[in-house]
Symmetry: D2
Subunit: 348 residues, 4 copies
Amino acid sequence: MSSTMQAVVKAKSAPGVEIQEVPQPAFGPGDVLVKVEAASVCGTDLHIYNWDPWAQGRIHPPLIPGHEFCGVVAATGRHVTTVREGDFVSAEMHVACGKCLQCRTGQAHICQYVKIIGVDANGAFAEYVVIPETNIWKLDPSLPREYGPILDPLGNAVHTVLAGEIAAKTVAIIGCGPIGLFAIAVARACGAAAVYALEINEHRRRLCHEMHADFVLNPATDDVSAIIREQTNGVGVDVVLEMSGHPDAMRLGFEILRTGGRVSLLGLPSSPVEIDFARDIIFKGATVQGINGRKMYETWYQMEALLKAGKLDLSPVITHRLPMEKFADGMELLRSGEASKILLYPNK
Amino acid sequence: MSSTMQAVVKAKSAPGVEIQEVPQPAFGPGDVLVKVEAASVCGTDLHIYNWDPWAQGRIHPPLIPGHEFCGVVAATGRHVTTVREGDFVSAEMHVACGKCLQCRTGQAHICQYVKIIGVDANGAFAEYVVIPETNIWKLDPSLPREYGPILDPLGNAVHTVLAGEIAAKTVAIIGCGPIGLFAIAVARACGAAAVYALEINEHRRRLCHEMHADFVLNPATDDVSAIIREQTNGVGVDVVLEMSGHPDAMRLGFEILRTGGRVSLLGLPSSPVEIDFARDIIFKGATVQGINGRKMYETWYQMEALLKAGKLDLSPVITHRLPMEKFADGMELLRSGEASKILLYPNK
Amino acid sequence: MSSTMQAVVKAKSAPGVEIQEVPQPAFGPGDVLVKVEAASVCGTDLHIYNWDPWAQGRIHPPLIPGHEFCGVVAATGRHVTTVREGDFVSAEMHVACGKCLQCRTGQAHICQYVKIIGVDANGAFAEYVVIPETNIWKLDPSLPREYGPILDPLGNAVHTVLAGEIAAKTVAIIGCGPIGLFAIAVARACGAAAVYALEINEHRRRLCHEMHADFVLNPATDDVSAIIREQTNGVGVDVVLEMSGHPDAMRLGFEILRTGGRVSLLGLPSSPVEIDFARDIIFKGATVQGINGRKMYETWYQMEALLKAGKLDLSPVITHRLPMEKFADGMELLRSGEASKILLYPNK
Amino acid sequence: MSSTMQAVVKAKSAPGVEIQEVPQPAFGPGDVLVKVEAASVCGTDLHIYNWDPWAQGRIHPPLIPGHEFCGVVAATGRHVTTVREGDFVSAEMHVACGKCLQCRTGQAHICQYVKIIGVDANGAFAEYVVIPETNIWKLDPSLPREYGPILDPLGNAVHTVLAGEIAAKTVAIIGCGPIGLFAIAVARACGAAAVYALEINEHRRRLCHEMHADFVLNPATDDVSAIIREQTNGVGVDVVLEMSGHPDAMRLGFEILRTGGRVSLLGLPSSPVEIDFARDIIFKGATVQGINGRKMYETWYQMEALLKAGKLDLSPVITHRLPMEKFADGMELLRSGEASKILLYPNK
């Protein structure tokens, strides 16, 4: 019967999830009901699955996680005007309050009162998900169908790369999980002069090569600093995109940055980090940016434009495709370090 | 004997030039003597050749014209430290005063007291040319040798394209002489989502196709406005790069611009132009930029980075190669509309 | 009986207005009903009153005009959460669609589908006006009460002045109606090094002095260009704010601009204007900005901050205070050139 | 006899200085010989005097220190064209190489090969000092004579304040030595909505009041974070200017910053500092800027413009005036915490 659906449910305050039959979600006059076609797994989902301290403080079971997805509009609330049944869509899952200073001055991506669907409300690891119309993003039918669920992390990459000048600049990307890998593609497409991909995991370094990074270095074994100094005539790289959150990686990033360069920080360190501010930021005249989410909705327009123009080949990053009920297998793959982006498909 | 050289000389205040044997130029302690390997011809040179009103007001014969070239350092003044004999070089031919407000605040490309070598002083259509060390640009040996003489106009294109955001933007380039053609390559390399090349000359439109513009339109026969409106869902293009200087082209550019877009004006109209400022600039919230020369020396760094990275294939734009003594033939080719960039080679 | 109210009504497609008793407006769940405390008159209102060609093409009688006001919240729709009965408020009267590219990328002030309350829907020349909650701006009780109705044009001034760098810059303001006068105050408060006020009307020039412009010039009799050249050591002004829309004023603005300067255009010329783009924009490397409305809502935050800090004395600009039923007298005052900002007070 | 002069000399690799009679300096064809009218003392001079580890690593005695001064041109090299004998001048004491990437792209203030007069070469604590013409700044005779020697630190303040938007912004200045005190004046002159001055030293807090900071807080006893939260409706300040270099002050700065705000770091911490990057920079979407020196020469133009306009009253910051031979007394005053800016006058 159509009024229930299969979903991945964080049912209790403990590690793991359950595959449950749950009621289809109700939706309001400003909402869009989407039949999920594919979802993808984020590191955040692994935190929720593992029930680590962050998850214990933030998540209130029962919850259907999942904030990366695409699907087809199944029904719309009566106030909805911009999409209709049958449209192929994805969504920005950060729901901004719309009323704070940040929201009212073009910085909704850092809304002080943001709620995240899939974290603070039921998400997309299910047959259906409910999204406010404001947050729906209608996809051009020409886009590769498989790119639909990965627009959220692609958006992180686009936001980070385009947070400053990139054309004709040398750039180091530190930490090449899915967002770092996407950033390689985006930086190249936007005219970066040379992309240095830094990553300690061998599987990920193989993917860096597949994404056509100009240099793929292993900070655990390569003398990254010496290599970059040599390649840049002693100057350093113009741009550092930090996507690992690791303290040593951050320090390395500041070290290889040229005087007057930009560091964009996306990776989240789990505790305070000690940096030599005098040498690495102040004397260098560096600019350091904290990057969070995706700009609403400038980043989405940018993504769509780059994808429609065929500028981004993201296929190497999608390493696995599983039925959604095999969610736990996906978690194991992520833990093993042998997977990058995993797509989940609900039963039809 | 080595103390004379062959040169193209604007000998008198009248149309035409002469090929003369002239003394090799003397150079001072801060100067670099360059043996010219190749020079290229600019529309400015045609003005000088034709002796049009602009030339009559600006040029003081006798003058060796020529401001696009590359060559090899033949000798250096005693204060010169950054290049030495044998280096492969080109040069920024706008010599800024270094002392005005603009020069001292990072805007030397619009120095109030600029002198141009090849216009205000003897230039590069000769076997040797003298350049102040400040203006020499040492070329990476890996660059295609033929790109050496065309860096000046390529710099115009790079400066124009990168004068604002270009990644993920739709862009119309109006007027596809050499700089417009270069701009197609630069915009594509820097992530433009779609490049519309607008050009009435058939030969140039063929080159636009060779430069891989996404759309090549003829404003004389195509309904450019309707086509762009349709292709952009009624929005218009994000960026207009105006490189023709023609009043109708300028008006068309403002018409196809989206609300909130950027217009960068490089083409020089020969007289005042009537524009509907209220409709096309003010209500649109447009930004209009006057573009002049190349940034000293940010544009040169950008060019070098893009060329070294292999991001720019400029070969279709070089349509002819002539011995320098055939200068007059080059002028005829330019007038015919069947040439784009013409390289001139001095006798060895 | 409270269900009717007095209003200024554009009753027919002809010059003039009528003072009518009309029903109090109904409001929806997302709306705010405001009891108008004071309104002020804009040039747009004079166009509507005169029934000029612009008005004939845009206005659909019957209409209550008026888009500059302040008042007290009388009632709120059931979805309204950010204001409540008794709050002192003004409003942004440009109602953006919220769904177009511009609205979704931080440019709602140039929304392609904007509706203006007081132009496209009933406005504030009445005892009550209805405003969507999104557009209400709650005023700090510490603000001078009389500044409430003039925030709309003050916002134009703030948006124009702060559309680029102003601190330590010389600035010419051309056309000193209310917005130009406000711009004098804003530029001074934000660190402009010298403010040149250019205005042909004698009454307005007196107000320029009261606003403490550093130089008050009459383009009809002063050699503005020579004076500015002398005062700026031949350089020209860094910034031109054009607020007259007059073709000669625009040309003068471009003439006095320094190489590399900014021109922000707010005044609307009534027909196309001929400009020497080569000399005045391209060779100058100038930046020209079309300015429309106020940024939603960055400009409002800026205004509030400057006003709360006591940085702006706007009192000289408010030249007249009338009961709203004397609307026609206000129109005559505006036509005479002897008024600047006129406040209208509804009965009660 | 005129060929010797009195100077403050760091004669040996040990604490202290000596007052010596030394030869007047020779100057080259591109140099300017300046008769020092007044010099002022910087924290750097105290490091040199104390012979701390930084000084031991950088200074090569014998050296005349001093990099803040004004004076009158006594003689010029034969290539000098922009100043002449009798001109009132100050100078930028950072001598940039002019040839590195940074110098050639408008970032000479962070030249990779900078030499500092008064640190790497003989400076201004003497009757005469030699300055390259490129670095001379001719002063308008209308400027208060006493402001001549303090333009270097004023430039630090101007560079920091104007490194981002300041008009209509709330700003916290942490650490109110001379540069912090100057920053109060500059921020106010450029339209800051509210200036919070944070300083633990009582004498300096009195000066903060004299500079008209809106709030003067003592981080050692006030709950700065709570006060700012309350004053800003829980939002935090838009801009933090960190001028103390103290780790706790830096952490406090990041704490009171609003989401999406700017932190400009000028104060130099003496060792690495631990910051909660995830909470304070990344989730906040903050922008952090390292600030070094003064922009060459944009900052100088800005200073001159603000001073000529009478926008800055800096007199409270100058607390002491001494004959230059009392240099050691000045050092004691600085150590005591009871002095801010100390001017030194050479014997005439």
